[in-house]
Amino acid sequence: MVESGILPRMRGYWLMAADALMVTAVNKTYGDKHVVKDISFRAQAGEILGFLGPNGAGKTTTIRMIMGITAPDSGKIVFQTGGRQLAGVPKELVGYLPEERGLYKDACVMHILQFLAGLKNVSRQEAASRARRWLAKFSLADYANAKVEQLSKGMAQKVQFIAAVLHQPRFIVLDEPFAGLDPVSQDLFKAEIKRLAADGAVVLLSSHQMNIVEELCDRIFLINHGQEVVSGRLGEIRERYGSYRVHVELGADADALVRLPAVAGAERLGSGRWVLYLQDYVKPEEFLRQVPSDVGLRELSITRPALHDIFVKIATGRYGG
């Protein structure tokens, strides 16, 4: 379990009472394939935890275990809510947007939403009035009685999102919620996910869109080959795992810079413009100290590594777990 920053120090009464999802030493094996190995993490009320990993890393299996769809071979998944710790899945309190998702093609939007909310013990009337509010928010008010066949892919995805949150869950698991959405709808979803977390829900977000994860998540938990590889606050992970990039524009040749001990590699972008990749663990100050005075610098910017690069490095095995 990884908890960094202020959380461990603040572990007081209020924190114990707050909602949290605790996954402890969970394992799952299919035949002779060990799909999930000793996964442990904790997701806290009010935060959005990014649950990342390459395809086939074991994300969906882990999520299905959290949702109670499959059972772990060993380990514990505990939902802490209202000061109590529940071993089973509190179905009224969990909302799930799976990666493999759809809607009953022959049914109408409102009926589907009422049925799914009904399974979460929301009355038909209550579900209908909440559904109308959500549909209006997503500009789908006119489609309440439309058959699913009449919806575009983006519209259907909005309805699926509504179905996942209509019953006001305290624990929300969103698996690739942004896949296939246009930028406007993406922004709409981002805003709603942020609001749900701000209202005190535990949000687990799995996505391959690293820019969105960077924007939304407080912490990430990255797995590969069924195992934890990296976890913690985003800033700290960048610090720990990402090498910096330096964009430069030079009057002279870049050889002098490329040969510096702090530089791991370089790429020519255009006339006199280069991007330098610093060695892992090399701080910007260290690089600046090494820069010779005669390279004819016209422009220089140092950027922190993007989550995208860290992810690619880890997925391609340069940071194996």
Binding site: R64, M67, I69, T70, A71, Y96, R101, Y104, F115, L119
Partner: protein, 398 residues
């Protein structure tokens, strides 16, 4: 249990507004009427063909031939024996019969046809035989009275012994109708259940649903929902059929219903539905698309049809060894037991054993289907092989 009802309600409302279901609901009675009435109507429309034969009679058979001839059979004597073929052609007759003067001795007559027809031939044959028989007996010196006495056919009167109860025609009709209803419900609900499971997968709803309820609850809800649809369907048809039977066919429905063991019929019907429903819904979970059913699935789908093959042997010998055997095999026993009890007094031990075996089979198939369902429903994009299904069945309950 509440969740089972929610799923059942959802399935019921979704399918009852489904075009396919409504069409089936309305078309089936029409088809039944059509199939029932068609042979009668055809018979009525199909008036017997008028045929003419010319008879070249050299023995004096003509009076006997014309005496009892059917209305559509015209028998004429030719004007000239030598030109009989021309006369047949001119009159477009079916042919001509030559009964020569030696007939009583040779027993041979000749029928010349102008084309293909069998009309009237049996009648002519019978009269010729009779004529021959009587003529020959007369030759041996018997008089007319003696002749009749000698050639009178035997008559068998059928009686039932006092303490034996043979079900009447009405009870057989009720049981027959019940068997047909079982077949219709098993096949239509079975197919719909299979579709429903496949659709749940294809529409990618299964994971969302399983985050709220267990696969068993989903499966039971589906089975219950389609059972209610089946009951609705039957009720709809019976509401049409019972008045039709009473007022149009003059069939004493209530009296006939009183004559059968309705409880037993209902029990066998229900068990048959549950057995097949569990099997079909489990089967649906192993498929990606109904069109892509594999060999294993195809074989299993044949099981409910198995009882067809037993109907004929059981009807001809309702207490024979085939009938008894089929009464203890769960996929044939409901239909076979209903047919047998309509035709004969089935020993009580056989009824009890049949019900016990059937109930055990319902339990076993439901448990197996639940296992297959919980694994199969989460498998996308392919149809499971027999080996895979076998592996799922061996998974331990988590």
């Amino acid at each position: 249990m509440k969740d089972i009802w929610k799923v059942a309600h959802w399935e019921f409302t979704r399918y009852i507004t489904n075009k396919q279901f409504i069409i089936g609901l309305l078309i089936t009675p029409l088809l039944m009427v059509a199939f029932g009435a068609l042979p009668i109507l055809l018979e009525r429309w199909n008036k017997p063909q008028e045929v003419t034969y010319y008879i070249v009679d050299e023995t004096g058979i003509m009076p006997l031939l014309t005496a009892g001839s059917p209305a559509n059979l015209k028998l004429v004597q030719p004007q000239s024996k030598d030109r009989v073929e021309e006369e047949v052609r001119e009159a477009e007759a079916a042919g001509y019969l030559v009964v020569d003067s030696e007939f009583l001795r040779t027993g041979q007559a000749a029928l010349y046809l102008s084309g293909h027809t069998t009309e009237g031939r049996a009648y002519i044959q019978a009269v010729l035989s009779q004529f021959l028989q009587q003529g020959r007996m007369q030759e041996s010196g018997l008089d007319w009275e003696q002749l009749n006495y000698v050639s009178a056919p035997a008559q068998v009167e059928v009686h039932t012994m006092a303490d034996v109860e043979i079900p009447g025609r009405q009870e057989m009709v009720v049981s027959g109708v019940f068997v047909v209803l079982i077949y219709i419900i098993v096949f239509s609900s079975g197919t719909m259940l299979m579709q429903s499971a496949v659709q749940e997968k294809r529409d990618r709803m299964i994971e969302v649903v399983l985050s709220s309820i267990s696969p068993q609850t989903l499966m039971q809800g589906k089975i219950l929902g389609h059972f209610l649809l089946g009951v609705f369907q039957m009720a709809f048809w019976l509401v049409l059929a019972i008045p039709a039977a009473i007022f149009l066919l003059d069939f004493p429905v209530w009296e006939a219903l009183g004559g059968v063991n309705l409880g037993l019929l209902a029990l066998f019907g229900l068990c048959s539905y549950l057995l097949n429903a569990a099997m079909f819904v489990g089967l649906g979970a192993t498929m990606d698309d109904i069109q892509n059913a594999g060999n294993a699935q195809g074989l299993v789908m044949m099981l409910p049809m198995l009882s067809f093959f037993f109907i004929a042997p059981v009807v001809s010998n309702p207490n024979g060894s085939v009938a008894v055997l089929a009464s203890f095999f769960p996929f044939t026993s409901p239909v076979i037991m209903i047919i047998r009890s309509a035709m004969t007094q089935v020993p009580v031990w056989q009824v009890v054993l049949s019900v016990i075996v059937l109930l055990l089979a319902v339990l076993a198939i439901s448990l197996a289907a639940a296992k297959v369902f919980r694994v199969g429903m989460l498998m996308y994009g392919k149809t499971a092989s027999l080996a895979e299904i076998g592996k799922w069945l061996r998974y331990r309950e988590e």
